[in-house]
Symmetry: C2
Subunit: 343 residues, 2 copies
């Protein structure tokens, strides 16, 4: 009898994770929050522990033809810190596992670890373990990050309420435009070795792709102004995709206004050069590592004082659905076309 | 100018980890013990948190031609639990990251997760997170395990003192003999598809290779009998290699007696069939996941009551070196020929 075979792509990444984990039963009272958010929450005394992990594979998550190893190390660490901040916590420790093929030298690994170390120094995080192994092919980086938070400060994805304001930090789509630029120059370079890549005036979008930062500053500003978001997550797969997570887990709808979505000048210029729609890129481009959060209307006066935070819409009752309001006032249903390595 | 290139193999696995991590400075008072033991120890309140991580790569750590996926999942989790027990702690949570190529189906991943789930149920551990990604080649499994321990119960590698007894649980070399058997039958099978593998009377060594257990029972027995080891670690790279870790970190030597090393009957028979020296296999074969610990002579009367624990030698002053005492009384310096994926 032939065995049943279902392609992984039929479930999608989140469906697959749910499928694989739904049969696990929580057994310890110390497990307060398991799979389903940016980080797990464990109760080991007064402070809660946040745990998050990311697996980065060569050819899937990064292309070493244009990614400096030090930047790769920095980014690998920072994307984990971003998940801890997205719970309103502070990253404290990481473990780093590397799988490396024979084409990498000690100097190469030094570069990666220099990047990780810089990230650790910048964000006050300790490297506390790991594993290093040979690999038959390519580079594998697996990082787990632990963070701490007071129990009453943790912000989940499921707390958004109708009329809450929807806010995002920084601007969106820049990392995606940086990636498009790198891919374009790679193609040019492959066709003609005499051509130098043309990165002039593109430093910001390149930095957003190659060396992103986590928004500790925003978490600190929220605390200073006495604002506790009702829901929060980091934007790694695109605003549309993340809004769907928050609305789905909070059982709400949302309205987001196209003209409120923060976009940097370099991103807009790059999109224009490539004949792409910058709003689509801002909604669906991955790897921004900005924070998306919702906050009570009562916090409006405080929110307007925050630098680097834009209000882009509001939460609605679930029956209104998830919509983008265009510049002419038209409503367009939001689609999650976010980046998904399993498709 | 040509860049300096040093091959990774020149440092070896432990040298490489030291090299890569020595420049990291601990920044948080909550980091009690960082890199250098089976798990990191973090202070988040009354209970200490233990963290350990393992990266398993297809073709390096496992061969899917003879490793059932469910067994692989089980083993991937258990080897992490083993590290937590080796600190005298209790594993409580794991995160699991998988990288999978298109040749794997949902059913395949179900098999892996069924194995992980069985391990979690058997050992009372919660799955609390992870990451799943496409991979261009092969299967990657990265697991991080958190465990808890009372501060005064944690056992490190650096506490052995001269005259302490050296103890090991279970028996050694069985997992390695199981691997040799699987490799032999694979070669036979590749040469002739009509031949069925001959595993009769070898079930124990196969189980030790494919579905090892962590020695929770030994940790519990030690606690019941009021024994706190002076140093402890799990035996994953072979007894010789692990003794070197304990003696090096404790600044001691050791004497181990060849005729005291516990060896199972099936392992001895298999070694005989393959014309291998079973003591060499017991000293240097990997993946036993037994516990190696040292205990004060004062605990001798309690130790003899323990099932599944053998006393194999004693700790000496460092100037005596690390020696195996042969059956004729001859002293042979111990060498670490343990399994090293980076060579």
């Amino acid at each position: 009898m032939e065995q049943k075979r279902t392609e992984i792509s039929t479930l999608g990444e989140f469906g697959l994770i749910r499928h694989l984990t739904e049969k696990f039963k929580t057994q310890n009272t110390s497990t307060l929050k398991s799979v389903g958010d940016d980080a797990a929450v464990l109760d080991y005394g007064q402070k809660k522990i946040l745990v998050t992990t990311d697996l980065l594979l060569e050819g899937i998550h990064f292309d070493l033809q244009y990614t400096p190893l030090k930047h790769l190390g920095y980014k690998s660490a920072v994307v984990n810190f971003s998940d801890i901040y997205a719970m309103n916590g502070q990253p404290k420790q990481i473990t780093v596992s590397l799988g490396v093929s024979k084409r990498f030298s000690i100097e190469d690994l030094d570069e990666i670890y220099d990047g990780i170390r810089l990230a650790c120094e910048n964000y006050g995080v300790d490297l506390v373990g790991g594993d290093t192994s040979a690999s038959l092919t390519g580079l594998t980086i697996s990082i787990t990050c632990l963070g701490e938070a007071d129990a009453d400060k943790i912000v989940y994805r499921n707390g958004a309420k109708p009329n809450d304001l929807i806010c995002v930090s920084g601007n969106l789509g820049a990392a995606y435009m940086g990636l498009q630029l790198l891919e374009r120059e790679k193609r040019v370079f492959e066709g003609n070795n005499d051509v130098q890549p043309d990165f002039e005036g593109k430093d910001y979008i390149l930095q957003r792709q190659l060396k992103p930062e986590a928004r500790r500053d925003v978490i600190e500003a929220l605390a200073e102004h006495g604002i506790k978001p009702t829901a929060m997550m980091d934007i790694s797969d695109g605003l549309s995709s993340e809004l769907m997570h928050i609305c789905s887990q909070s059982n709400t709808g949302c309205r987001v206004y196209e003209d409120k979505i923060p976009i940097d000048y370099q991103s807009a210029v790059m999109a224009d050069e490539l004949n792409m729609n910058i709003v689509t890129c801002a909604l669906n481009g991955g790897e921004d590592y900005e924070l998306l959060f919702t906050a009570s209307l009562e916090d409006y006066e405080k929110l307007v004082l925050l630098e680097n935070v834009s209000m882009v819409g509001h939460i609605t009752k679930p029956e209104y659905g998830l919509n983008l309001v265009g510049r002419e006032g038209e409503e367009i249903p939001l689609k999650a076309q976010g980046w998904n390595s399993l498709q």
